[in-house]
Symmetry: C2
Subunit: 204 residues, 2 copies
């Protein structure tokens, strides 16, 4: 296999994503017309819809790359976390937040989040939910790791704590991308303050 067709297909995928990434960043999600993406990718409109169900799915593919990168970076922290519960959480969350605007603008995040709630059953909606779950799992894994090390009391309901931390962080991040003027350091500080409550509750 891996014939001409396969290669052309992969190439077209890449061209579409490249064109869309550039145009989303330049003109914003709404401003990037499908027609323009098609022109820049040198395919027809019909072809784009052959590869992606709708405009949102194109954004979805870009978001997934970003989040997977973040998940990867997070693995290191879970493997060998800072020797202190507060720092461990702050480090992991820091990685998520600091990476978040590398490829995606706030506007792109807003659109991605909106689409994922609007169409939870579309390919993108499901993928986004899976990514959220993966992030929750990673935070849970960190808590469990800290329990093993003895930094977190062993009688604590780890999964529940993980969900609390993720849900709070995610909601704060949503509010963050909704306000164009919001800054990363303030976001981190606010989350840290909230997490202090939890750290006090679960620390050994």
């Amino acid at each position: 296999m891996s014939g001409l067709r396969e290669r052309q297909k992969a190439d077209r995928h890449r061209r579409i994503i490249d064109a869309a990434t550039a145009l989303f960043r330049e003109a914003g999600y709404e401003g990037a017309k499908i027609e323009a993406i098609a022109a820049q990718a040198e395919v027809s409109i019909g072809t784009i819809y052959n590869y992606y169900q709708n405009k949102g799915d194109i954004l979805g593919a870009i978001v997934a790359m970003e989040v997977n990168e973040v998940l990867n970076a997070g693995r290191g922290v879970v493997a060998s976390p800072p020797a202190n519960v507060g720092d461990a959480l702050d480090t992991l969350i820091g990685i998520y937040i600091e990476h978040s605007l590398n490829y995606l603008s706030k506007e792109m995040w807003r659109q991605a989040m909106a689409i994922s709630t609007q169409l939870p059953d579309s390919p993108f909606g499901q993928a986004y939910t899976a990514l959220d779950r993966a992030l929750t799992e990673q935070i849970r894994a960190l808590i469990m790791r800290l329990q093993e090390i003895g930094l977190v009391r062993s009688d604590i309901d780890g999964p529940a704590v993980g969900e609390l931390v993720f849900n709070n962080m995610n909601m704060m991040f949503i509010e963050f991308v909704k306000r164009e003027e919001a800054k990363i350091p303030e976001l981190r500080a606010a989350i840290k303050r909230q997490n202090r409550i939890l750290v006090a509750a679960i620390g050994a």
Copy 2:
């Protein structure tokens, strides 16, 4: 004042909202065409856009009614909360959740949430953010009330706890409306489990 013009205006507002509520519930948000809403409300398309900036704002007006009702119902709990931190939180959150599907279907909630992140600066976006803030404030007020009564330790960072509780609940609610098959009792149980961590941390 209160001349003919005022009365007609109020009447048209009501007719549009009534028509939209009915059609949103029957056909879903996307399925309810502006043309159909206009026809049912016996106004023209242009008139609808004279009253609301966009389709989302119509939904926004309906959501605002719902949330305000919930906020009202919550006031009673804050005024005289159950004599136990866990129950107090559960009662307030219970009111929010149990009321939530009175007027709005899950699909309508999904759309409303999506629009509020997509267009945070539109009239609806801002209104929705304000409603979220009001709910957060109410939870904070409950925590403070419990501190006064002596059920919550006075050295606790009340605002931070309020935010944690609201953010977690809200995120859980978002996931709830995203899954059509999700049930209210399970949602409440999951939130209760998560809140137990916090209750243990802040109880006097």
